[in-house]
Every structure is written in C-alpha cells, then in structure tokens.
Assembly symmetry: C2
Homo-oligomer: 400 residues x 2
C-alpha cells in the first residue's frame, strides 16, 4: 500500500499544466497563472514626475534652502509644463505632474508660503538634486518585462497589467472538475430520505472544495449502483479535466466503480493509500490526460482525500508551482492521546496567528459535524501517542 | 493624526453587519456568513448503520471470536433488512447499510470466508457489542442545531447543509463596493496615454482587492477633476455599501474630493493616518451607513490603505467576526536597515510554512512592481532600525 507522499508523487507525475489560452483581463482571472511574459509598452513614469504637491525649483537657486522665487506657471497632473525654469524661478506643481525643463527638485508645499507680491518664499533644507522627483522610466522601461510567465494574478498584478495597457493575456485555464456521487442509498439534498437512504452531502461539499481549489466544478448528480447508468455518467465525467467520484470504491459487493472504470479504459495507478480516514482511494488516468479520483463515501474521508490528492492536482493543472497540501508546525493547546494503525489526519482547530492547535471532538470518518469546528488536521504517524500540551505537531491547513 | 489602530477602531465603530437575506444554497455562498441556526430534520444516521463491508452478527455467538454462521440475507446500502438475526446467524452487510434486528456487531469481510456449503466462517477477536456500527442519531439528532448562526460557509458546511436537507438559508450578503478613480491625468487601461497622462492601474487593482475580500466590486471608472462630473459619479458610488475613491484626497490644489464629499453630506471622521506609504487617507460615512474611503493615488499606498482599512470594513459588513488585517511573527532572512518618520508597511516576501521573511527591493509608494515580488508587508515602527538577520518581526499578510 502506498504512503500518502508516494501516492501524491504518482498523482503529480500524471498532472500537467493545461495549455494556455487567451483571456480578456478581468477579475475572473484572480488567482490564475500568467502564461506569457508581459512587457511594458511605455516608460513609467512617462516623464520626470513630481512626488509631492509643492514647487519645482532649481537647486542651484537655494544653496541655503532659503529664497524668494517668481512663480512662472502652475502644472497639475495631466497637464504639460509650457515654460522652462530660469534663475530664481519656480513652477507650482501637483503630485503626479511633469517636472518643467530646468527644474531639478521639488520643495514640498508645507515648506513654502506665498508673498504679498505673488512670489513664493521657500524655507527648507537645501534641496538635493532629484528631490521629490521620480525620473522617467524609474518604475519600468518600455520593453522591459514587468510580469513573468508563471506568476499568479493577484490585485497588484491587475494594477500592473492595466498600467502597461495589457487588456488580454495568456493564462493557464482553470481545470474543469466533474463530481459524481455514487450509491443506491443516496438521494438529493432536496428530498426526504426513505428507509435506508441518506442525502447527498458529499456532492455539494466536493463542489465547494473544487471551487475553493480554483477549479470549475461540474456536478453530475447521483449515479445508482447499476452498471449501465453508472457507466454513462462516468463517461460524461471523463470529458472534464478531472473526474471525482465519491463512494463505490471500497471492496463492497456493489462497489462497481473500479470495474466500470476499467471497462472504459481508465488506467488505475493505485486503489489504496495508507491513511486514516480514507484508505480506499482510487487514482487513474484516461485518454490523453483526464485524471480520475475515487474517494470514499464517508464525508470526512472524502474531504481529506480531496485535500491530499485532488486539490494539488487541480493546482498543478492550473499551472501553479506550489500545489500543497500546506503544512505548518503548531503547538498543542491540550494533551492528546491517540492510537492508530495508519498515518491519521485528525480534525483540529488551528489559530493561524499564534500557531496553537487543538484537536476537536471527532468520532470518525462519518462525523462531518466535527469539521465545522475544525480548520485543519493534525498529522499523526501510525502508533500510540501520548502528546503533552505544548508539544509541537505538524498540521495540514485546509482553509485559506 | 490618528495611529493605524486608532483609525481602524474608528472605521469598525461605523461598520455593522448587513441585514441577512435568504439565498438558495449554492457555491456562490462560499465564504459567506450564516445568519440562522440550522437544525437537523432527521436523525443521522437515520438507522443503526454498518461502518464496514462484512457480516452483521450477534456478539454472543462469538465468545472466542470464531464460529461458522448461516447467512440469512444480504443488505446493501439503500436497502432495508427483512429478517431478524437468530442464534448462529449472520447477515452479509455493506458499508452504509442498516443493521438487522438482532445483530449487535459487524465483523469486517477480511476476517471471514465463505464455506463450501454457503455459510460464513468468522475468525476474529471476540466482537465487542457495537463494533463497526454507527448508532442511529450518533452524528446528529433530529431538531439538534448542527450549524450556528455566525459560522462561515466552507465545503464542510455545504456538506452538512445538504445532509439536513437545507436548500435555502439566511446569510449575510456580500457588501457592494463602488470603486472610483479620480484625476484628469488618468486614462483607461485600453488607451494610449497622451503627454502627462497615466493609465488607471488602481481601478483594476482595487476591483480585485474587493473581490478577494469577499465584496461585490462595482467599478465606476475614472472621474475627472471637475466638480459636477465628480459629484455625480460620487453620488452614484454612495448607493453602494462602500465607496472607495482613489486619488484626489491629499492637499493638492485640484484635490476636489473632500469638498465634494462634504457638499454631499458625507461626514468625515479622519483625513490622515500616521502611516507610510499612504498618510492621506480619508474615511467618512453617509446617510444610514454607506462607508466612504478616500485612498491615495499612489498604487502601493492605495493597496496598503485598502488592506488596513477597507478589507476589515468589508468583512465586518459581511458578518465576519475576524476581520483582519492578519499579522504573523516571522524571522528576517537578511539584515534590514531602515529609517522612517512614520510606522511603515514595507513590501516583503513571506514563506508561510517556515515563517521566514525578506524585504523586497522597493523605492516607494509609486513602485507597484515591487508588490509583484511580495506577498506581505514588514511592519516597522517610526525610527531608525538596524535589524540583523534572524530578528523576529511583525508581518502583515495580504495574500490568502
């Protein structure tokens, strides 16, 4: 049986970044990965620019920092100065406005006052040439690469793209992820379960996990344990980049999924992983690259299996370098005694700022309620553990 | 001048959770805050349920763990057992299926084998009553609160809502946030800037920040420094829950925003905050609760001002208890020397797992490119600092 990290390696060996596509730049691309180098189409700033409201001056006129200068012009942002500065002249200038020819410094407005005869009296430290001026091209030069292929689009990258006039870009698309819950006993959330039936909690949970991971979820509904119907729903699911099945993958008599997958030509790479909850986890590939995951029907097992294997696959297809899962070290707030025959992911509440963690009450893989009090999982090796409060443990984060 | 934390207190004193609304449960609600207690409409599981594939048995028949039993029935998930177990009988049972009357334990399939005459030979430890059975109502009881008002909807909460048949819920809506960039010198990203002009990078950046913070962004475009037009665009923006203005709030001659806001009846609570970059930050309120933020035009100042003041306000309106900003302690990877007259937020690259951080090259508030190499900000008090590598510093996280 594979270890979790061996199984993750198998999955990632089969997960390749999707081919880039061209998209208009819009907030829909938030979190997606850029697939081209972006160069600036202009110098930024496109002119020597004032960083302050004040007066553009010639530093040579203010060797002691003090002088009274004639005001020859006023320039606001968006305007262009019309006059060059001569000796003992100043231009009133606003933040963002171009520096007039002849000026080499800006004195901030707070260090000046207007005189009765309409001149400006400066009283400051002697100005340094370049003071309060951002020179042309200081931020970026025309033709210079300002964003590199592979970078994740966040708010600042949107600002940079807009600044260089980039309104469409090559990005790695979000992978499509089909979700199929299997089982004769499963009915839709909107229905009242009959005897022996349960509602489909896993479908909506996995749908939300796909969205959180940056994929495009496509819920296919509930497949009964009847081969032809199951087969046609799985065939539909194989059209997505990833198919996630929930239930029907353990050794039970009606666990038809592995057989149907084999019939359809899905190549299975593993069926089980040494972990708790959720040992029966199937991973296979189909055709030119569809990834197929069979997760257990128990909700906590399904959630953990998704975070350990499916989320990294989604992120890899989406072009991310860091695919997770993401672990931190944290300090136990209370003693924790636990015995397990397999590496176990135990629901826990982590305070991300203080890095303190405590396990939450949990009675096993069907207990999804425990997860509404949790935001992480303690990672516990096989064996008997009596961990004291203050012990440092490894924690898998699931929340962003 | 207010400190950052004083200013944050002022903002949060004016930010109240929006009134709840009813929504269909869908992935659109991911990250929103539940505004009602949700109770289960049934016992979960609704019957004593097998946790394993195997045989339901009477533990009394297996005092040594070993016996050969008659198989009276086979029950799969979704079916209901028809026969009660008598002495030395067993029912073949699948994970999730109801336990037949008379049985009090399940022996896993791996500990059994079928005999030639169609019976089952069990060889295991003596079964414990209740073994591998999840009793009715163990996970949740009918009428019991399973999700509390105030909880954030994550994948596991979607699973729980579906399990209890909840297809519509009361939630706090996402706040609407209007974004308005001001300045005669600013042109849209799609245009080629003329002399003295720059493209509107802040609009798309703030739009993405609003989306990341969980708000609904509404970009109003670019307002010129012309009072009537500026006024009508601001009036439109005041119809949203929050209005974010970028530019036009410092003391420059064309900084019309404060005057227009006052004319329109916006009550200003502060104009400046002791921080760098971004001292001129305006906060006001209008009418029955619209929050108005005037951020500086320099992009890094705008981004930092948003993270410090606007994002917490969005989260508070959206009903979150934890509104941020979020800080962690991290270790400097390299020495850092810096002198500043105000508390400064300095762009930095944080490795969240190792909690190591390094400042990125940055030449000041217009330098948005620095932020494409950063995911956090060092928080530096006013004064002169010569921090050695290994020094522990406070870091504001901006990425999720």
């Amino acid at each position: 049986m594979l270890s979790v990290s061996e199984a993750q390696t198998v999955v990632l060996n089969h997960a390749r970044s999707l081919p880039p596509g061209r998209s208009s730049v819009s907030v829909e691309l938030l979190g997606q990965v850029l697939a081209e180098n972006v160069a600036s189409d202009l110098d930024m700033p496109p002119f020597d620019k004032s960083l302050m409201d004040g007066f553009a001056v010639r530093s040579a006129d203010l060797p002691q920092g003090k002088a009274t200068l004639s005001i020859i012009e006023e320039v606001t942002a968006g305007q262009t100065p019309q006059r060059a500065l001569q000796t003992m002249q100043a231009t009133r200038i606003m933040t963002g406005a171009p520096i007039p020819v002849g000026a080499d410094a800006v004195v901030m407005i707070e260090r000046t006052r207007l005189t009765a005869d309409g001149r400006v009296e400066v009283e400051d430290k002697p100005p340094r040439p370049g003071q309060n001026i951002m020179t042309r091209g200081r931020e970026m030069r025309r033709g210079e690469t300002v964003l590199e292929s592979g970078c994740v689009l966040r708010p600042q990258e949107f600002g940079i793209l807009a600044s260089v006039g980039k309104t469409s870009v090559a990005v790695i698309p979000r992978p499509t992820v089909a979700i199929l819950t299997t089982g004769n006993e499963v009915v839709d959330a909107s229905r009242q379960p009959g005897p022996g039936q349960i509602r489909n909690g896993n479908g909506p949970m996995l749908h939300a996990q796909v969205a959180r991971a940056g994929g495009i979820p496509r819920s296919l509904g509930i497949a009964p344990d009847v081969a032809p119907k199951l087969r046609s729903m799985i065939e539909e699911g194989l059209q997505s980049n990833i198919l996630v099945l929930s239930g029907g993958v353990s050794a039970g008599k009606l666990d038809l999924v592995p057989g149907v997958l084999e019939e359809l030509g899905v190549q299975a790479h593993f069926h089980k992983v040494a972990l708790k909850p959720g040992k029966p986890i199937l991973f296979g590939t189909w055709g030119t690259g569809t990834l197929v995951f069979g997760l257990p029907g128990n909700p906590v097992s399904a959630l953990v299996g998704f975070e350990l294997f499916v989320r990294p696959a989604i992120r890899r297809l989406a072009g991310h370098e860091k695919v997770g899962p993401f672990f931190v070290e944290a300090t136990l707030e209370e003693p924790f005694t636990y015995k397990t025959d397999r590496p176990t992911y135990y629901p826990a509440a982590l305070d991300a700022e203080s890095r303190r963690v405590r396990p939450v009450p949990w009675f096993g893989s069907p207990d999804l309620r425990a997860l509404s009090r949790a935001n992480a999982f303690l990672v516990i090796a096989a064996g008997e553990h009596q961990l004291p409060a203050g012990h440092v443990v490894s924690v898998m984060r699931t929340d962003d």
